[in-house]
Symmetry: C2
Subunit: 296 residues, 2 copies
């Protein structure tokens, strides 16, 4: 019987959104506007890919979603923090995100800046609170993984090089750096965090790292392709916005056909890494395949 | 014999700056500009009050500075992250900080935004790396303390209410909220973090919390007073800049004389809380007294 990915994603998404709703600061408490701004962006409809990866990695190791829920929420907080800051006028200056006005368009630049800052801090607060009493060495390693994946050697580093590359010819190596860091680092970090919280053995962790790295690359290539061929309603932003900004993308450097091949290649690598895992890893397998099945 | 505070501060400041120099990402590594921007602001001359408080709290409990050095550096990273974002055009729009051009004036707004973001992530990476093998429950509790002190219920929350209050009459309660959160939370968090890393007992931790809270309040009142009566070279920003921005301050609400009394009152409370501690707490005592001796 085939694995029902859509059903799986829906259940996990609802679990994550319920948990976020509970864990986020409430609008009735001071500072109200900030809490409102935070909730506005985090609770906007989203795929919840990163938290779902945290959960799916833990499930592949036989652990329940509940055990990693605070870490799953933390990864979503970090993702949304990056979106809010990315949309600011001094960055991409976007008016819409996930089909709604961007945070700064509703709450102003200063509030959006601070909402993003607060979300990054909240992520670490959620993990360190450790309500499920996961062994402390797992918690500390997870915090280290998440922090590193977010900073200069992770997501923020990728954003900087992406920004510096706009309007310039970039080498293959630079494009790879951008993709591996800007999107890849947090996707890999999600898989690693779920695995470490679930008490992965060293070989299990290494296999899941290969998986995380490969789907991160596939995901970003797929995103680049969708920016060229996708449909606006599905991707939630105007088609061609990367081209307009003269951003470094795979289709631009390699053409569409070769880019599609590369995305499939990375997904195959990801699936191979899951070889030793049993049925528990079916969600991870289905997620990997889904990345390149999204109308590329 | 009187405690030589200036000598103490100088030695600790040098230790912290040496450690920061080692722990910060280097300019020779990608992303170079980001790493340069980070080092520019963090290594600018500063008092290093927060890291010194981390160290002094640990020393009051008989532990060596080295044991808490990564946490001390983390607190400085968080402080500098807040300064960089605070100076941005959408916030205070300041051109100078610590006598040098602000980060965004040198590196541009986008880079300054990302340098701040990266510093917040780095803070947690430094603590979680735990190179001194401090017991893991202390590390996790410290991360929780620092994260909470930085976010909606801490520093960022205070910044938001401060921003919302500009140009308005504020109540005593709101002014207190702003001061307790905007500056107080991270000063208290520094003392708590140092104490927890040093393995403080519950009564020790509670006493040091009172100390941290009281000096946080005293410090912010003193800062407000210096903005009115201080000398520009010493405070590193133009005298009267709070008034100009119509910011909520103690002198504005209570007048100068009453504000001075309140600052002294909080320092006395801080000193009383240190009653049970021996000579090891002399640095904490001297720091508290110094806060209200800065030409108020």
């Amino acid at each position: 019987m085939e694995f029902d990915l859509q059903g799986y994603l829906k259940v996990r998404r609802t679990m994550v959104e319920d948990a976020l709703n509970t864990l986020l600061p409430v609008e009735s408490e001071r500072p109200q506007k900030l809490n409102e701004a935070i909730r506005y962006s985090v609770l906007a409809p989203g795929k919840r890919l990163r938290p779902t990866l945290v959960i799916a990695a833990a499930e592949a190791l036989g652990k329940a979603a509940e055990m990693v829920m605070p870490v799953a929420c933390a990864l979503e907080c970090i993702h949304v923090f990056s979106l809010i800051h990315d949309d600011l006028p001094c960055m991409d200056n976007d008016d819409y995100r996930r089909g709604r006005l961007t945070n700064h368009k509703v709450y102003g630049e200063a509030m959006a800046l601070l909402a993003g800052d607060a979300l990054l801090a909240l992520a670490f607060e959620l993990v360190a609170a450790n309500p499920c009493s996961v062994p402390l060495d797992c918690v500390v390693r997870t915090i280290h993984i998440i922090a590193r994946a977010s900073g200069t050697r992770g997501m923020v580093g990728g954003q900087v090089v992406d920004m510096e590359s706009q309007g310039r010819e970039v080498s293959e190596e630079t494009l790879f750096y951008i993709h591996e860091h800007k999107t890849g680092a947090l996707i890999l970090g999600s898989v690693e965090a779920g695995a470490v919280m679930a008490g992965a053995s060293q070989p299990e962790l290494e296999a899941l790292r290969v998986y995380g790295r490969q789907i991160g690359l596939a995901f970003q290539i797929a995103d680049d392709i969708l920016d060229v061929v996708g449909d606006e309603a599905r991707i939630g932003k105007p088609v061609g916005s990367d081209q307009e900004r003269d951003k470094a993308t795979y289709p631009r450097l390699f053409g569409l056909e070769k880019s599609r091949e590369m995305a499939h290649f990375h997904v195959q690598q990801a699936l191979s890494a899951l070889g030793p895992f049993g049925q528990g890893a079916d969600p991870l397998r289905a997620i990997a395949s889904y990345i390149v099945e999204r109308d590329l």
